[in-house]
Protein backbone atom coordinates (compact mmCIF):
# COMPACT_ATOMS: atom_id res chain seq x y z
CA UNK A 1 0.00 0.00 0.00
CA UNK A 2 1.22 3.50 -0.78
CA UNK A 3 1.52 6.22 1.77
CA UNK A 4 -1.84 6.01 3.44
CA UNK A 5 -4.14 8.67 2.12
CA UNK A 6 -6.74 8.36 4.80
CA UNK A 7 -10.09 8.23 3.14
CA UNK A 8 -13.13 9.82 4.61
CA UNK A 9 -15.38 7.54 6.55
CA UNK A 10 -17.91 6.21 4.11
CA UNK A 11 -21.10 8.03 4.93
CA UNK A 12 -23.57 5.37 3.87
CA UNK A 13 -26.28 7.76 2.89
CA UNK A 14 -24.28 10.65 1.62
CA UNK A 15 -26.22 13.07 -0.62
CA UNK A 16 -26.49 10.64 -3.46
CA UNK A 17 -29.18 11.25 -6.07
CA UNK A 18 -29.74 7.50 -6.41
CA UNK A 19 -30.91 7.52 -2.82
CA UNK A 20 -32.46 10.95 -2.53
CA UNK A 21 -34.78 10.81 -5.55
CA UNK A 22 -36.59 7.54 -4.85
CA UNK A 23 -36.64 8.33 -1.14
CA UNK A 24 -38.26 11.70 -1.82
CA UNK A 25 -40.85 10.21 -4.18
CA UNK A 26 -41.68 7.52 -1.65
CA UNK A 27 -41.95 10.06 1.12
CA UNK A 28 -44.41 12.09 -0.95
CA UNK A 29 -46.50 9.01 -1.74
CA UNK A 30 -46.54 7.89 1.89
CA UNK A 31 -47.39 11.36 3.13
CA UNK A 32 -50.17 11.72 0.55
CA UNK A 33 -51.59 8.36 1.55
CA UNK A 34 -51.69 9.38 5.18
CA UNK A 35 -53.05 12.90 4.91
CA UNK A 36 -54.38 12.83 1.34
CA UNK A 37 -57.88 11.52 2.01
CA UNK A 38 -58.46 14.52 4.28
CA UNK A 39 -57.20 16.95 1.67
CA UNK A 40 -59.57 15.74 -0.96
CA UNK A 41 -62.82 17.70 -1.23
CA UNK A 42 -64.69 14.42 -1.69
CA UNK A 43 -64.74 11.51 0.75
CA UNK A 44 -63.43 8.19 -0.57
CA UNK A 45 -66.65 6.26 0.02
CA UNK A 46 -69.38 8.73 -0.97
CA UNK A 47 -71.05 8.77 -4.34
CA UNK A 48 -71.10 12.17 -5.99
CA UNK A 49 -74.60 12.32 -7.43
CA UNK A 50 -73.90 15.70 -9.02
CA UNK A 51 -71.53 14.29 -11.60
CA UNK A 52 -72.00 11.46 -14.06
CA UNK A 53 -70.90 8.04 -13.00
CA UNK A 54 -67.53 7.30 -14.40
CA UNK A 55 -66.54 10.92 -15.04
CA UNK A 56 -63.14 11.34 -16.63
CA UNK A 57 -60.38 13.25 -14.88
CA UNK A 58 -60.54 16.99 -14.98
CA UNK A 59 -60.02 20.05 -12.84
CA UNK A 60 -63.36 21.72 -13.58
CA UNK A 61 -65.54 19.38 -11.55
CA UNK A 62 -63.00 18.77 -8.79
CA UNK A 63 -62.53 15.05 -9.48
CA UNK A 64 -58.85 15.32 -10.37
CA UNK A 65 -58.50 11.61 -11.19
CA UNK A 66 -62.12 11.25 -12.27
CA UNK A 67 -64.64 8.99 -10.57
CA UNK A 68 -65.13 5.25 -10.61
CA UNK A 69 -68.11 3.45 -12.06
CA UNK A 70 -70.11 4.15 -8.93
CA UNK A 71 -69.28 7.82 -9.02
CA UNK A 72 -66.82 7.85 -6.15
CA UNK A 73 -63.84 10.21 -6.27
CA UNK A 74 -60.84 8.28 -7.58
CA UNK A 75 -58.26 10.68 -6.16
CA UNK A 76 -59.51 10.09 -2.62
CA UNK A 77 -59.80 6.36 -3.23
CA UNK A 78 -56.30 6.03 -4.68
CA UNK A 79 -54.71 7.80 -1.74
CA UNK A 80 -56.85 5.92 0.73
CA UNK A 81 -55.96 2.62 -0.94
CA UNK A 82 -52.29 3.46 -0.54
CA UNK A 83 -52.68 3.28 3.21
CA UNK A 84 -53.51 -0.39 3.18
CA UNK A 85 -51.06 -1.38 0.46
CA UNK A 86 -48.20 0.44 2.15
CA UNK A 87 -49.15 -0.91 5.54
CA UNK A 88 -49.13 -4.46 4.17
CA UNK A 89 -45.73 -3.81 2.64
CA UNK A 90 -44.41 -2.36 5.88
CA UNK A 91 -45.69 -5.24 8.00
CA UNK A 92 -44.27 -7.90 5.73
CA UNK A 93 -40.94 -6.09 5.57
CA UNK A 94 -40.80 -5.80 9.32
CA UNK A 95 -41.73 -9.43 9.84
CA UNK A 96 -39.30 -10.77 7.27
CA UNK A 97 -36.51 -8.54 8.60
CA UNK A 98 -37.04 -9.27 12.27
CA UNK A 99 -38.23 -12.85 12.29
CA UNK A 100 -36.89 -14.08 8.96
CA UNK A 101 -33.35 -12.78 9.37
CA UNK A 102 -32.92 -13.83 12.99
CA UNK A 103 -34.56 -17.19 12.40
CA UNK A 104 -32.37 -17.99 9.42
CA UNK A 105 -29.18 -16.65 11.00
CA UNK A 106 -29.69 -18.60 14.21
CA UNK A 107 -30.55 -21.82 12.38
CA UNK A 108 -27.62 -21.46 10.00
CA UNK A 109 -25.10 -20.47 12.64
CA UNK A 110 -25.85 -23.13 15.20
CA UNK A 111 -26.57 -25.85 12.69
CA UNK A 112 -27.16 -29.42 13.77
CA UNK A 113 -30.38 -30.39 15.46
CA UNK A 114 -31.56 -26.86 16.16
CA UNK A 115 -31.16 -26.03 12.47
CA UNK A 116 -33.15 -29.10 11.43
CA UNK A 117 -35.88 -28.30 13.91
CA UNK A 118 -36.18 -24.65 12.90
CA UNK A 119 -36.08 -25.31 9.19
CA UNK A 120 -38.61 -28.15 9.40
CA UNK A 121 -41.00 -25.69 11.01
CA UNK A 122 -40.45 -23.38 8.05
CA UNK A 123 -41.11 -26.30 5.72
CA UNK A 124 -44.36 -27.06 7.51
CA UNK A 125 -45.54 -23.47 7.20
CA UNK A 126 -44.53 -23.54 3.56
CA UNK A 127 -46.50 -26.67 2.97
CA UNK A 128 -49.70 -25.16 4.33
CA UNK A 129 -51.78 -24.11 1.35
CA UNK A 130 -51.86 -20.36 1.68
CA UNK A 131 -55.48 -19.86 0.63
CA UNK A 132 -56.62 -22.61 2.91
CA UNK A 133 -54.70 -21.00 5.73
CA UNK A 134 -56.34 -17.62 5.12
CA UNK A 135 -59.82 -19.14 4.89
CA UNK A 136 -59.16 -21.05 8.08
CA UNK A 137 -58.20 -17.81 9.80
CA UNK A 138 -61.39 -16.16 8.56
CA UNK A 139 -63.50 -19.04 9.82
CA UNK A 140 -61.82 -19.04 13.21
CA UNK A 141 -61.68 -15.32 13.86
CA UNK A 142 -64.30 -13.90 11.57
CA UNK A 143 -63.64 -11.42 8.82
CA UNK A 144 -61.29 -8.74 9.98
CA UNK A 145 -58.77 -6.52 8.25
CA UNK A 146 -56.18 -7.48 10.84
CA UNK A 147 -56.23 -11.03 9.53
CA UNK A 148 -54.70 -9.90 6.25
CA UNK A 149 -51.68 -8.72 8.18
CA UNK A 150 -51.53 -11.92 10.19
CA UNK A 151 -51.79 -14.04 7.06
CA UNK A 152 -49.23 -12.10 5.07
CA UNK A 153 -46.93 -11.70 8.04
CA UNK A 154 -46.96 -15.41 8.77
CA UNK A 155 -45.71 -16.37 5.33
CA UNK A 156 -43.54 -13.44 4.28
CA UNK A 157 -40.61 -14.39 6.54
CA UNK A 158 -40.29 -17.96 5.27
CA UNK A 159 -38.34 -17.20 2.10
CA UNK A 160 -36.16 -14.77 3.99
CA UNK A 161 -35.38 -17.36 6.65
CA UNK A 162 -34.30 -19.87 4.02
CA UNK A 163 -32.15 -17.44 2.09
CA UNK A 164 -30.51 -16.08 5.22
CA UNK A 165 -29.84 -19.59 6.51
CA UNK A 166 -28.13 -20.55 3.28
CA UNK A 167 -25.94 -17.46 3.36
CA UNK A 168 -25.14 -17.98 7.02
CA UNK A 169 -24.03 -21.53 6.37
CA UNK A 170 -21.39 -20.28 3.99
CA UNK A 171 -20.45 -17.26 6.13
CA UNK A 172 -19.91 -19.52 9.12
CA UNK A 173 -17.04 -21.19 7.27
CA UNK A 174 -15.25 -17.90 6.78
CA UNK A 175 -12.14 -17.31 8.79
CA UNK A 176 -13.31 -14.07 10.35
CA UNK A 177 -15.99 -16.01 12.17
CA UNK A 178 -13.30 -18.29 13.60
CA UNK A 179 -11.33 -15.18 14.47
CA UNK A 180 -14.35 -13.83 16.33
CA UNK A 181 -14.81 -17.13 18.14
CA UNK A 182 -11.23 -17.20 19.34
CA UNK A 183 -11.43 -13.61 20.46
CA UNK A 184 -14.00 -14.84 22.92
CA UNK A 185 -17.23 -13.57 21.38
CA UNK A 186 -20.37 -15.50 22.19
CA UNK A 187 -22.63 -16.89 19.46
CA UNK A 188 -25.24 -14.14 19.73
CA UNK A 189 -22.63 -11.42 19.48
CA UNK A 190 -21.08 -13.13 16.47
CA UNK A 191 -24.42 -13.41 14.71
CA UNK A 192 -25.21 -9.78 15.43
CA UNK A 193 -21.85 -8.23 14.72
CA UNK A 194 -20.35 -10.50 12.08
CA UNK A 195 -23.03 -12.52 10.33
CA UNK A 196 -25.85 -10.03 9.94
CA UNK A 197 -23.80 -7.16 8.44
CA UNK A 198 -22.51 -9.57 5.82
CA UNK A 199 -26.07 -10.57 4.98
CA UNK A 200 -27.19 -7.01 4.30
CA UNK A 201 -26.77 -7.14 0.53
CA UNK A 202 -28.93 -10.20 0.11
CA UNK A 203 -31.46 -9.10 2.69
CA UNK A 204 -32.02 -5.70 1.16
CA UNK A 205 -32.40 -7.08 -2.33
CA UNK A 206 -34.83 -9.66 -1.06
CA UNK A 207 -36.90 -7.14 0.89
CA UNK A 208 -37.31 -5.01 -2.22
CA UNK A 209 -38.60 -8.11 -3.96
CA UNK A 210 -40.93 -9.00 -1.10
CA UNK A 211 -42.74 -5.68 -0.90
CA UNK A 212 -44.21 -5.80 -4.43
CA UNK A 213 -45.01 -9.45 -3.91
CA UNK A 214 -47.10 -8.92 -0.78
CA UNK A 215 -48.85 -5.89 -2.21
CA UNK A 216 -49.95 -8.17 -5.04
CA UNK A 217 -50.91 -10.96 -2.63
CA UNK A 218 -53.07 -8.50 -0.75
CA UNK A 219 -54.82 -7.45 -3.95
CA UNK A 220 -55.36 -11.11 -4.80
CA UNK A 221 -56.92 -11.77 -1.40
CA UNK A 222 -59.10 -8.70 -1.81
CA UNK A 223 -60.12 -9.84 -5.26
CA UNK A 224 -61.31 -13.14 -3.78
CA UNK A 225 -63.25 -11.24 -1.16
CA UNK A 226 -60.94 -12.35 1.63
CA UNK A 227 -59.08 -9.12 1.99
CA UNK A 228 -60.23 -5.56 2.20
CA UNK A 229 -63.98 -5.06 1.73
CA UNK A 230 -65.91 -2.34 0.00
CA UNK A 231 -66.14 0.54 0.44
CA UNK A 232 -62.62 0.38 1.88
CA UNK A 233 -60.00 -0.29 -0.77
CA UNK A 234 -56.35 -0.82 -1.62
CA UNK A 235 -54.22 -0.29 -4.71
CA UNK A 236 -54.57 -3.92 -5.60
CA UNK A 237 -58.34 -3.78 -5.34
CA UNK A 238 -58.48 -0.52 -7.31
CA UNK A 239 -56.36 -1.95 -10.09
CA UNK A 240 -58.67 -4.94 -10.23
CA UNK A 241 -61.73 -2.73 -10.48
CA UNK A 242 -60.04 -0.50 -13.00
CA UNK A 243 -58.98 -3.40 -15.18
CA UNK A 244 -62.58 -4.42 -15.57
CA UNK A 245 -63.57 -1.05 -17.02
CA UNK A 246 -60.29 -0.54 -18.81
CA UNK A 247 -61.84 0.21 -22.21
CA UNK A 248 -64.57 2.63 -21.18
CA UNK A 249 -62.97 4.30 -18.15
CA UNK A 250 -59.19 3.86 -18.50
CA UNK A 251 -58.42 6.38 -15.74
CA UNK A 252 -59.78 3.89 -13.22
CA UNK A 253 -56.80 1.67 -14.03
CA UNK A 254 -54.17 4.25 -14.91
CA UNK A 255 -54.06 6.23 -11.67
CA UNK A 256 -53.90 3.46 -9.07
CA UNK A 257 -51.59 1.43 -11.30
CA UNK A 258 -49.26 4.41 -11.67
CA UNK A 259 -49.08 4.85 -7.93
CA UNK A 260 -48.47 1.16 -7.41
CA UNK A 261 -45.80 0.94 -10.09
CA UNK A 262 -44.09 4.12 -8.95
CA UNK A 263 -43.94 2.88 -5.38
CA UNK A 264 -42.53 -0.49 -6.38
CA UNK A 265 -39.97 1.15 -8.65
CA UNK A 266 -38.88 3.48 -5.87
CA UNK A 267 -38.50 0.60 -3.42
CA UNK A 268 -36.36 -1.27 -5.90
CA UNK A 269 -34.17 1.73 -6.70
CA UNK A 270 -33.81 2.54 -3.04
CA UNK A 271 -32.91 -1.05 -2.22
CA UNK A 272 -30.25 -1.07 -4.89
CA UNK A 273 -28.74 2.22 -3.85
CA UNK A 274 -28.89 1.26 -0.19
CA UNK A 275 -27.02 -1.96 -0.81
CA UNK A 276 -24.31 -0.15 -2.71
CA UNK A 277 -24.06 2.53 -0.08
CA UNK A 278 -23.71 0.03 2.75
CA UNK A 279 -20.97 -1.95 1.05
CA UNK A 280 -17.63 -0.67 2.28
CA UNK A 281 -15.87 -2.03 -0.78
CA UNK A 282 -18.09 -0.36 -3.32
CA UNK A 283 -15.31 1.90 -4.54
CA UNK A 284 -13.27 -1.11 -5.60
CA UNK A 285 -15.90 -2.89 -7.60
CA UNK A 286 -16.64 -0.23 -10.13
Amino acid sequence: MNAPTVRKTPAPLRMNPAVIVPAAVLAVIILLSIIGPWLSPYPFDAIDFDSDWGTGPGLAHGHVFGTDELGRDLFARTLYGGRLSLAVGAVSTLVSLVIGVSWGAVAGYFGGRLDSLMMRLVDVLYALPFMFFVILLMVLFGRHLLLIFVAIGSVSWLDMARIVRGQTLSLRQREFVDAAVVSGLGPIAIIRRHIVPNLLGVVIVYVTLTIPQVILVESFLSFLGLGVQEPATSWGALVNDGARGMESTPWGLIFPATFLALTLLCFNLLGDALRDALDPQRGLRK
Binding site: M1, P4, V6, R7, T9, P10, G112, R174, E175, F176, D178, A179, A180, V181, V182, S183, G184, L185, G186, P187, A189, R193, H194, P197, N198, L200, D279, P280, Q281, L284
Partner: protein
Protein backbone atom coordinates in the same frame (compact mmCIF):
# COMPACT_ATOMS: atom_id res chain seq x y z
CA UNK B 1 4.09 -23.67 36.01
CA UNK B 2 4.27 -23.69 32.26
CA UNK B 3 1.84 -21.54 30.32
CA UNK B 4 0.72 -24.33 28.08
CA UNK B 5 0.94 -28.00 28.83
CA UNK B 6 -0.46 -30.49 26.35
CA UNK B 7 -0.41 -34.17 27.32
CA UNK B 8 -1.21 -37.04 25.02
CA UNK B 9 -3.56 -35.06 22.82
CA UNK B 10 -5.62 -37.23 20.52
CA UNK B 11 -7.98 -35.94 17.85
CA UNK B 12 -10.11 -38.44 15.98
CA UNK B 13 -12.88 -38.16 13.46
CA UNK B 14 -15.38 -40.80 12.51
CA UNK B 15 -15.57 -40.97 8.73
CA UNK B 16 -16.98 -43.34 6.19
CA UNK B 17 -13.57 -44.90 5.72
CA UNK B 18 -13.30 -45.55 9.42
CA UNK B 19 -11.73 -43.59 12.23
CA UNK B 20 -9.44 -40.83 11.04
CA UNK B 21 -6.65 -40.29 13.51
CA UNK B 22 -5.72 -36.64 12.97
CA UNK B 23 -3.53 -36.17 16.05
CA UNK B 24 -2.00 -38.87 18.27
CA UNK B 25 -0.26 -38.59 21.61
CA UNK B 26 1.00 -35.08 21.12
CA UNK B 27 2.63 -33.60 24.19
CA UNK B 28 3.94 -30.05 24.32
CA UNK B 29 5.21 -27.86 27.14
CA UNK B 30 5.62 -24.15 26.71
CA UNK B 31 6.83 -21.47 29.13
CA UNK B 32 6.34 -17.74 29.13
CA UNK B 33 8.67 -15.96 26.73
CA UNK B 34 9.35 -19.13 24.78
CA UNK B 35 8.76 -19.72 21.09
CA UNK B 36 7.89 -23.14 19.83
CA UNK B 37 7.76 -23.99 16.15
CA UNK B 38 5.44 -26.73 15.03
CA UNK B 39 6.53 -27.98 11.63
CA UNK B 40 4.91 -30.43 9.29
CA UNK B 41 3.40 -30.78 5.85
CA UNK B 42 -0.32 -30.57 5.12
CA UNK B 43 -2.22 -33.22 6.99
CA UNK B 44 0.49 -33.72 9.59
CA UNK B 45 -1.90 -32.64 12.34
CA UNK B 46 -0.22 -29.34 13.18
CA UNK B 47 -3.29 -27.25 12.47
CA UNK B 48 -5.55 -29.75 14.20
CA UNK B 49 -3.39 -29.39 17.29
CA UNK B 50 -3.77 -25.62 17.13
CA UNK B 51 -7.53 -25.86 16.59
CA UNK B 52 -7.79 -28.16 19.60
CA UNK B 53 -6.05 -25.59 21.81
CA UNK B 54 -8.39 -22.88 20.59
CA UNK B 55 -11.47 -25.04 20.97
CA UNK B 56 -12.29 -24.63 17.29
CA UNK B 57 -12.57 -28.29 16.36
CA UNK B 58 -15.86 -29.18 14.74
CA UNK B 59 -18.57 -31.13 16.47
CA UNK B 60 -17.45 -34.36 14.81
CA UNK B 61 -14.08 -34.41 16.53
CA UNK B 62 -13.33 -36.71 19.44
CA UNK B 63 -10.63 -35.18 21.58
CA UNK B 64 -8.63 -37.07 24.19
CA UNK B 65 -5.78 -36.20 26.49
CA UNK B 66 -5.31 -32.93 28.25
CA UNK B 67 -4.64 -29.32 27.32
CA UNK B 68 -3.79 -27.19 30.33
CA UNK B 69 -3.44 -23.45 30.11
CA UNK B 70 -1.74 -22.02 33.22
CA UNK B 71 -2.77 -25.18 35.00
CA UNK B 72 -6.41 -24.96 33.92
CA UNK B 73 -7.83 -27.76 31.82
CA UNK B 74 -9.26 -26.39 28.54
CA UNK B 75 -10.76 -29.59 27.17
CA UNK B 76 -14.36 -30.00 28.20
CA UNK B 77 -14.60 -26.40 29.42
CA UNK B 78 -18.04 -24.79 28.97
CA UNK B 79 -18.31 -22.35 26.08
CA UNK B 80 -18.81 -19.43 28.43
CA UNK B 81 -15.67 -20.18 30.44
CA UNK B 82 -13.71 -20.81 27.29
CA UNK B 83 -14.87 -17.49 25.85
CA UNK B 84 -13.54 -15.73 28.93
CA UNK B 85 -10.08 -17.17 28.20
CA UNK B 86 -10.02 -16.95 24.41
CA UNK B 87 -9.14 -13.50 23.24
CA UNK B 88 -8.18 -12.42 26.74
CA UNK B 89 -5.45 -14.88 27.73
CA UNK B 90 -4.94 -16.70 24.44
CA UNK B 91 -4.56 -14.80 21.21
CA UNK B 92 -4.68 -16.30 17.75
CA UNK B 93 -3.34 -15.13 14.41
CA UNK B 94 -4.66 -16.90 11.36
CA UNK B 95 -3.06 -17.70 8.07
CA UNK B 96 -4.95 -15.46 5.71
CA UNK B 97 -5.42 -11.87 6.89
CA UNK B 98 -7.59 -11.39 3.81
CA UNK B 99 -10.34 -13.51 5.24
CA UNK B 100 -9.78 -13.31 8.98
CA UNK B 101 -11.05 -9.75 9.09
CA UNK B 102 -14.71 -9.00 8.54
CA UNK B 103 -14.99 -6.98 5.32
CA UNK B 104 -18.11 -5.17 6.50
CA UNK B 105 -16.79 -3.77 9.76
CA UNK B 106 -14.23 -1.05 10.20
CA UNK B 107 -10.94 -2.18 11.65
CA UNK B 108 -11.53 -0.02 14.71
CA UNK B 109 -14.84 -1.69 15.45
CA UNK B 110 -13.34 -5.16 15.17
CA UNK B 111 -10.54 -4.25 17.53
CA UNK B 112 -12.81 -2.45 19.98
CA UNK B 113 -15.13 -5.43 20.09
CA UNK B 114 -12.47 -7.55 21.79
CA UNK B 115 -11.82 -4.97 24.51
CA UNK B 116 -15.50 -4.31 25.06
CA UNK B 117 -16.09 -8.03 25.36
CA UNK B 118 -13.32 -8.83 27.80
CA UNK B 119 -12.68 -5.63 29.68
CA UNK B 120 -16.09 -4.00 29.49
CA UNK B 121 -14.28 -0.97 28.10
CA UNK B 122 -16.18 1.97 26.66
CA UNK B 123 -15.89 2.50 22.93
CA UNK B 124 -13.74 5.59 23.39
CA UNK B 125 -11.37 3.83 25.76
CA UNK B 126 -11.27 0.81 23.46
CA UNK B 127 -10.41 3.02 20.49
CA UNK B 128 -7.59 4.67 22.37
CA UNK B 129 -6.19 1.29 23.39
CA UNK B 130 -6.62 -0.09 19.85
CA UNK B 131 -4.73 2.87 18.42
CA UNK B 132 -1.90 2.26 20.88
CA UNK B 133 -1.77 -1.38 19.88
CA UNK B 134 -1.82 -0.60 16.13
CA UNK B 135 1.05 1.76 16.78
CA UNK B 136 2.90 -1.02 18.60
CA UNK B 137 2.59 -3.34 15.62
CA UNK B 138 3.98 -0.69 13.33
CA UNK B 139 0.96 0.92 11.71
CA UNK B 140 1.34 4.67 11.56
CA UNK B 141 -1.48 7.19 11.76
CA UNK B 142 -3.23 4.54 13.81
CA UNK B 143 -6.07 6.74 15.02
CA UNK B 144 -7.16 7.55 11.47
CA UNK B 145 -6.67 4.04 10.20
CA UNK B 146 -9.07 2.69 12.80
CA UNK B 147 -11.87 4.14 10.76
CA UNK B 148 -10.83 2.28 7.64
CA UNK B 149 -12.08 -1.03 6.37
CA UNK B 150 -9.94 -4.16 5.87
CA UNK B 151 -9.80 -3.78 2.08
CA UNK B 152 -8.04 -0.47 2.52
CA UNK B 153 -5.03 -2.23 4.05
CA UNK B 154 -2.35 -4.22 2.25
CA UNK B 155 -1.80 -7.88 3.10
CA UNK B 156 1.11 -7.24 5.45
CA UNK B 157 -0.71 -4.36 7.14
CA UNK B 158 -3.78 -6.52 7.56
CA UNK B 159 -1.72 -9.22 9.23
CA UNK B 160 -0.37 -6.55 11.56
CA UNK B 161 -3.96 -5.66 12.38
CA UNK B 162 -4.82 -9.26 13.22
CA UNK B 163 -1.72 -9.49 15.40
CA UNK B 164 -2.79 -6.31 17.17
CA UNK B 165 -6.24 -7.80 17.62
CA UNK B 166 -4.81 -10.98 19.11
CA UNK B 167 -2.63 -9.03 21.52
CA UNK B 168 -5.09 -6.34 22.60
CA UNK B 169 -5.93 -7.95 25.92
CA UNK B 170 -2.31 -8.79 26.67
CA UNK B 171 -2.61 -12.56 26.41
CA UNK B 172 -0.03 -14.93 27.84
CA UNK B 173 -0.13 -17.29 24.88
CA UNK B 174 -0.18 -16.45 21.20
CA UNK B 175 -0.91 -19.09 18.61
CA UNK B 176 0.11 -18.13 15.10
CA UNK B 177 -1.20 -20.58 12.50
CA UNK B 178 0.95 -20.10 9.40
CA UNK B 179 0.96 -16.33 9.92
CA UNK B 180 3.24 -15.58 6.99
CA UNK B 181 2.15 -18.14 4.42
CA UNK B 182 -0.13 -15.74 2.57
CA UNK B 183 2.40 -12.91 2.52
CA UNK B 184 5.29 -11.78 0.31
CA UNK B 185 8.73 -12.87 1.39
CA UNK B 186 9.84 -9.38 2.36
CA UNK B 187 6.70 -8.79 4.39
CA UNK B 188 7.12 -12.25 5.90
CA UNK B 189 10.40 -11.26 7.50
CA UNK B 190 8.88 -8.08 8.92
CA UNK B 191 5.97 -9.97 10.44
CA UNK B 192 8.28 -12.56 11.97
CA UNK B 193 10.47 -9.84 13.41
CA UNK B 194 7.41 -8.17 14.81
CA UNK B 195 6.17 -11.38 16.41
CA UNK B 196 9.56 -12.03 17.94
CA UNK B 197 9.84 -8.49 19.24
CA UNK B 198 6.36 -8.59 20.77
CA UNK B 199 7.07 -11.96 22.32
CA UNK B 200 10.10 -10.51 24.07
CA UNK B 201 8.43 -7.30 25.20
CA UNK B 202 5.21 -8.93 26.40
CA UNK B 203 6.81 -12.12 27.71
CA UNK B 204 4.52 -14.13 25.47
CA UNK B 205 4.51 -17.84 25.01
CA UNK B 206 4.38 -18.17 21.23
CA UNK B 207 3.42 -21.18 19.15
CA UNK B 208 4.32 -20.78 15.53
CA UNK B 209 2.73 -23.31 13.24
CA UNK B 210 4.32 -23.50 9.84
CA UNK B 211 5.49 -25.74 7.05
CA UNK B 212 8.43 -23.48 6.41
CA UNK B 213 11.68 -24.52 8.07
CA UNK B 214 13.12 -21.09 7.32
CA UNK B 215 10.49 -19.49 9.53
CA UNK B 216 11.33 -21.87 12.34
CA UNK B 217 15.04 -21.22 11.99
CA UNK B 218 14.46 -17.50 12.20
CA UNK B 219 12.40 -17.15 15.36
CA UNK B 220 11.90 -20.42 17.24
CA UNK B 221 14.11 -21.62 20.08
CA UNK B 222 12.50 -25.02 20.05
CA UNK B 223 10.66 -26.92 17.42
CA UNK B 224 8.66 -30.09 17.04
CA UNK B 225 8.33 -31.90 13.74
CA UNK B 226 5.02 -33.62 13.11
CA UNK B 227 4.23 -36.41 10.73
CA UNK B 228 0.90 -38.21 10.32
CA UNK B 229 -0.46 -36.75 13.54
CA UNK B 230 2.53 -37.57 15.72
CA UNK B 231 5.55 -35.70 16.92
CA UNK B 232 8.48 -37.49 15.30
CA UNK B 233 11.23 -35.21 16.48
CA UNK B 234 11.55 -32.41 19.01
CA UNK B 235 14.41 -30.29 20.22
CA UNK B 236 16.25 -27.00 20.17
CA UNK B 237 15.92 -25.49 16.69
CA UNK B 238 19.65 -25.06 16.19
CA UNK B 239 20.61 -28.66 16.73
CA UNK B 240 17.45 -29.98 15.17
CA UNK B 241 18.18 -28.20 11.90
CA UNK B 242 21.94 -28.81 11.95
CA UNK B 243 21.81 -32.43 12.91
CA UNK B 244 18.36 -33.86 12.22
CA UNK B 245 17.91 -37.31 13.71
CA UNK B 246 14.69 -38.50 12.15
CA UNK B 247 14.82 -39.55 8.51
CA UNK B 248 11.71 -37.45 7.88
CA UNK B 249 13.34 -34.29 9.23
CA UNK B 250 16.43 -35.11 7.20
CA UNK B 251 14.23 -35.47 4.14
CA UNK B 252 12.51 -32.14 4.82
CA UNK B 253 15.82 -30.36 5.12
CA UNK B 254 17.16 -31.98 1.99
CA UNK B 255 14.05 -30.91 0.08
CA UNK B 256 14.83 -27.24 0.51
CA UNK B 257 16.22 -25.68 -2.63
CA UNK B 258 19.63 -24.16 -2.02
CA UNK B 259 21.31 -21.25 -3.75
CA UNK B 260 24.77 -22.59 -3.01
CA UNK B 261 26.59 -25.27 -4.92
CA UNK B 262 25.88 -26.53 -8.42
CA UNK B 263 22.33 -26.56 -9.57
CA UNK B 264 20.91 -30.05 -9.14
CA UNK B 265 19.17 -31.89 -11.97
CA UNK B 266 15.93 -31.91 -10.04
CA UNK B 267 14.91 -30.88 -6.57
CA UNK B 268 15.11 -33.50 -3.91
CA UNK B 269 11.74 -34.78 -2.79
CA UNK B 270 10.71 -37.34 -0.23
CA UNK B 271 9.32 -40.21 -2.28
CA UNK B 272 5.72 -41.27 -1.85
CA UNK B 273 2.75 -39.64 -0.20
CA UNK B 274 1.81 -39.09 3.44
CA UNK B 275 -0.31 -42.00 4.66
CA UNK B 276 -4.08 -41.95 4.67
CA UNK B 277 -4.98 -40.93 8.22
CA UNK B 278 -7.88 -43.39 8.17
CA UNK B 279 -5.49 -46.29 7.53
CA UNK B 280 -2.28 -45.61 9.36
CA UNK B 281 0.26 -48.43 9.25
CA UNK B 282 0.92 -50.62 12.31
CA UNK B 283 4.52 -49.58 12.60
CA UNK B 284 6.19 -46.27 11.89
CA UNK B 285 3.93 -44.07 9.74
CA UNK B 286 6.93 -42.84 7.80
CA UNK B 287 8.34 -46.32 7.08
CA UNK B 288 6.77 -46.69 3.60
CA UNK B 289 8.62 -43.55 2.44
CA UNK B 290 11.77 -44.06 4.46
CA UNK B 291 15.01 -44.95 2.68
CA UNK B 292 16.57 -46.30 5.87
CA UNK B 293 13.73 -48.65 6.71
CA UNK B 294 14.49 -51.82 8.70
CA UNK B 295 12.29 -54.76 9.69
CA UNK B 296 11.35 -53.25 13.05
CA UNK B 297 9.86 -50.18 11.33
CA UNK B 298 6.90 -52.12 9.97
CA UNK B 299 6.48 -54.21 13.09
CA UNK B 300 6.15 -51.67 15.87
CA UNK B 301 5.66 -47.97 16.13
CA UNK B 302 8.74 -46.23 17.54
CA UNK B 303 8.17 -44.17 20.69
CA UNK B 304 9.30 -40.60 21.11
CA UNK B 305 12.48 -41.17 23.11
CA UNK B 306 14.67 -38.63 24.78
CA UNK B 307 18.10 -38.67 23.15
CA UNK B 308 21.53 -38.56 24.67
CA UNK B 309 21.85 -34.81 24.85
CA UNK B 310 18.51 -34.67 26.74
CA UNK B 311 17.24 -31.58 24.94
CA UNK B 312 15.92 -33.58 22.06
CA UNK B 313 13.57 -36.42 21.43
CA UNK B 314 13.03 -38.53 18.36
CA UNK B 315 10.77 -41.40 17.37
CA UNK B 316 12.87 -43.73 15.24
CA UNK B 317 14.05 -47.32 15.61
CA UNK B 318 17.41 -46.50 14.09
CA UNK B 319 18.51 -44.41 17.03
CA UNK B 320 20.18 -45.84 20.09
CA UNK B 321 18.18 -45.61 23.29
CA UNK B 322 19.27 -43.04 25.79
Amino acid sequence: MSVLSIKDLDVRYASQQGVVQAVSEVSIELDAGETLGVVGESGSGKSQTALAIMGLLGGGAEVGGSIRFSGRELLGLARKDLDAIRGADIGVVFQDPMSSLNPYLSVGLQLAEVLIQHRGASRAAADAESARMLDAVGIDRAAQRLRQYPHEFSGGMRQRVTIAMALLCKPRLLIADEPTTALDVTVQAQILDLLDQLRASMNLALILITHDLGVVAEVCERAVVMYAGRIVEAGATRTLLRRPLHPYTQGLLASRPSLRGPRPESLHAIPGQPPNPARLPEGCAFAPRCTLRIAACDARRPCLETQQDVTRACACHLLPRA
